[in-house]
């Protein structure tokens, strides 16, 4: 600590740090967080590396707005005897037109859904084009592929919930496409519909899948995904020296294109060849 700090400053610092120290001593969480935030990454990263975090942010936005929407939405296909409209459809109308800021939260969730999927594909594209799916990161690519499937499952199940003509018939078509999958198709169709025909059970089970089953799985798999990212380190862009697995040499070393067939191994984020002083 610099000597220039007054006694008062030191006191304030001690008070502020006390809870942090308390937590660290009993859980090690602060150290874990520091490890996560200050881990080594390749010297040359670029903006495309932020696409994964952008996807994560979109997921968090969906989770938060979705939880709030669930406080007002009613997943019932029964008709309201007074208006003759389905209750699910009416509750969406209420959220959009009557409740304060409901239009905003619903809009965030609806547009955010598309943003989430688009970011997923961009992130996947960057991983592909950087060759970041190669050894030893194949498993993380597979985890990512399951994440993509589940995210599309969110899209399918969420689309039905407004229970209007578009969502109803789009879901009829989507379920029938699923029912044509080899081997599992017909069973999948019946399972998704909750029977032979789409009906009120379809709505309630899509609701359950949309807000409990798939998001739970997504959250768990995202945790695994990030654990693997931290454990294996991030791949430097393929045009960098580090991606080739070589240090900068006076003669320029081998061409960076080697990175495409010989990607960086896990480890110190520096091509794995150099061992840093710790």
């Amino acid at each position: 600590m610099p000597k220039t700090k007054s006694k008062r400053q030191q006191q304030i610092e001690a008070v502020a740090l006390y809870p942090v120290d308390w937590l660290e001593e009993r859980s090690g969480l602060i150290g874990g967080l520091r490890y996560f935030l200050f881990r080594k990454v390749p010297a040359e990263t670029n903006w495309f590396h932020t696409l994964g975090s952008a996807t994560l942010t979109a997921f968090i936005v969906q989770a938060v707005t979705g939880v709030i929407l669930a406080m007002y939405y009613k997943p019932s296909a029964e008709l309201n005897p007074e208006t003759g409209k389905p209750i699910a459809y009416e509750s969406i109308e209420t959220i959009t037109n009557d409740l304060t800021l409901g239009w905003l939260v619903r809009g965030m969730h609806r547009w955010g859904a598309s943003v989430f999927i688009i970011l997923l594909f961009l992130h996947m594209g960057r991983v592909f084009l950087f060759g970041a799916y190669k050894y030893p990161r194949e498993l993380n690519w597979l985890v990512g592929a399951v994440l993509l499937l589940m995210a599309m499952g969110e899209g399918l199940t969420g689309y039905l919930l407004p229970w209007d003509q578009t969502s109803y018939w789009a879901t009829v078509v989507a379920i029938n496409i699923n029912a044509n999958a080899p081997i599992a198709g017909p069973f999948l169709g019946d399972f998704l519909r909750g029977g032979q025909e789409i009906g009120s059970e379809t709505l309630t089970r899509f609701y359950s899948l949309h807000m409990l089953v798939i998001p739970g799985g997504l959250a768990g798999l995202i945790a695994l995904h990030l654990y693997l990212v931290v454990r294996l380190g991030i791949t430097p862009p393929p045009w960098t020296k580090a991606a080739g697995g070589y240090e900068a040499q006076p003669n320029g070393g081998r061409p960076a294109r080697t990175g495409l067939v010989n990607p960086s191994p896990r480890g110190n984020g520096n091509g794995g060849r150099e061992r840093r002083e710790s």
Partner: protein, 314 residues
């Protein structure tokens, strides 16, 4: 995460990063080509090319697996003797040689076993409840469509009715297209088409004008609305599927003719029974020859070689 503070790369354990990298291989390309050939040939229904593609895929797949596993196959399997030696070391020192269930092994097994039993007892019924109701007790209800006199001879009508008592009003509505073909061998003959498009399930519409005024028929199940119409065929709003007046596909993506309903006559009233699928219809009206099959989902072929692939179910 705290125990991860040591960077894995700094432990000196991954000195040779290429150790587990399979060597670059050309075989996957041949394999992919074979698979692609098979798929294309299936679409153009050329069995010769299917066979060529399948052989390509098999050969290259074999070569690929061989190349990819070369390293593994080269390593000799661990000596069984080494394994037993390991186990014996863990066993108690008292009675050498005699294999005995050690306490830790027993506890490990008991924990896993009891855990699995509890997990199974809780999970199986829950999963069963999630899945089974969608498959069991699924029957089509029989629906009273009113007295025969409501259906004049050779007159098409749109019939709208409640298709099931198990669903709320909005979802239970069904539509069928009905024509009375007159008597055949002493029994009344009807053509009753389902409005479910056999491409992917959208509601098929009649081509031509439909009466605005409905004729209401009282039934136990909440009434039937009949609208007279004179269609030249049927069309689907979703992807442009088109059908002729007997339900045969004439254009667009549908894969068979429109589904039909079985029917029966009880006390002079028309009763709708379960639906069935149709391959092709030859002739019209009461003379129609209908290639009938059990009901299948939209998009599924019932005849031709495609029936084995859409969907493939062993």
């Amino acid at each position: 995460m705290a125990d991860e503070l040591e960077r894995p790369g700094e432990n000196g354990e991954s000195q040779d990063p290429a150790a587990h990298l399979p060597a670059p291989s050309i075989w996957p390309f041949g394999f992919a080509l074979g698979v692609a050939l098979v798929l294309v040939a299936l679409i153009i229904s050329s069995w010769v090319i299917v066979a060529i593609g399948a052989i390509l895929a098999l050969v290259f797949g074999f070569l690929w697996i061989r190349a990819a596993t070369r390293e593994v196959r080269a390593t000799p399997p661990p000596e069984p003797a080494a394994l037993t030696a390991d186990v014996e070391e863990e066993e108690g020192e008292e009675d050498d040689g005699e294999p005995r269930l050690s306490r830790s092994l027993f506890l490990e097994g008991a924990t896993l076993g009891i855990g699995a039993a509890i997990g199974g007892i809780v999970t199986l019924p829950s999963v069963g409840f999630m899945v089974l109701p969608a498959f069991l007790d699924q029957e089509y209800e029989q629906i009273d469509l009113g007295p025969l006199e409501s259906y004049p001879r050779d007159q098409w009508v749109v019939a709208k009715f409640r298709g099931t008592q198990a669903q709320p009003d909005g979802v239970a509505r069904r539509t069928a297209y009905i024509r009375y073909n007159g008597q055949q061998d002493g029994t009344p003959s009807f053509t009753i088409l389902s409005n479910r498009c056999v491409h992917l399930g959208c509601p098929v519409q009649p081509q031509g004008l439909t009466d605005e005024e409905a004729q209401m028929i009282e039934t136990e199940a909440g009434g039937v609305e009949l609208f007279k119409m004179a269609p030249s065929g049927f069309g689907c709003p979703c992807h442009g599927g088109a059908y002729d007046i007997e339900g045969n596909r004439t254009a667009g993506p549908p894969v068979r003719a429109l589904d039909r309903y079985k029917y029966s006559i009880h006390n002079g009233r028309l009763r709708l029974d379960e639906p069935y699928s149709v391959g092709k219809v030859k002739g019209t009206g009461s003379d129609a020859q209908i290639a009938a099959y059990d009901l299948v989902d939209p998009g599924q072929h019932v005849d031709g070689p495609e029936q084995f692939f859409y969907p493939y179910v062993p």
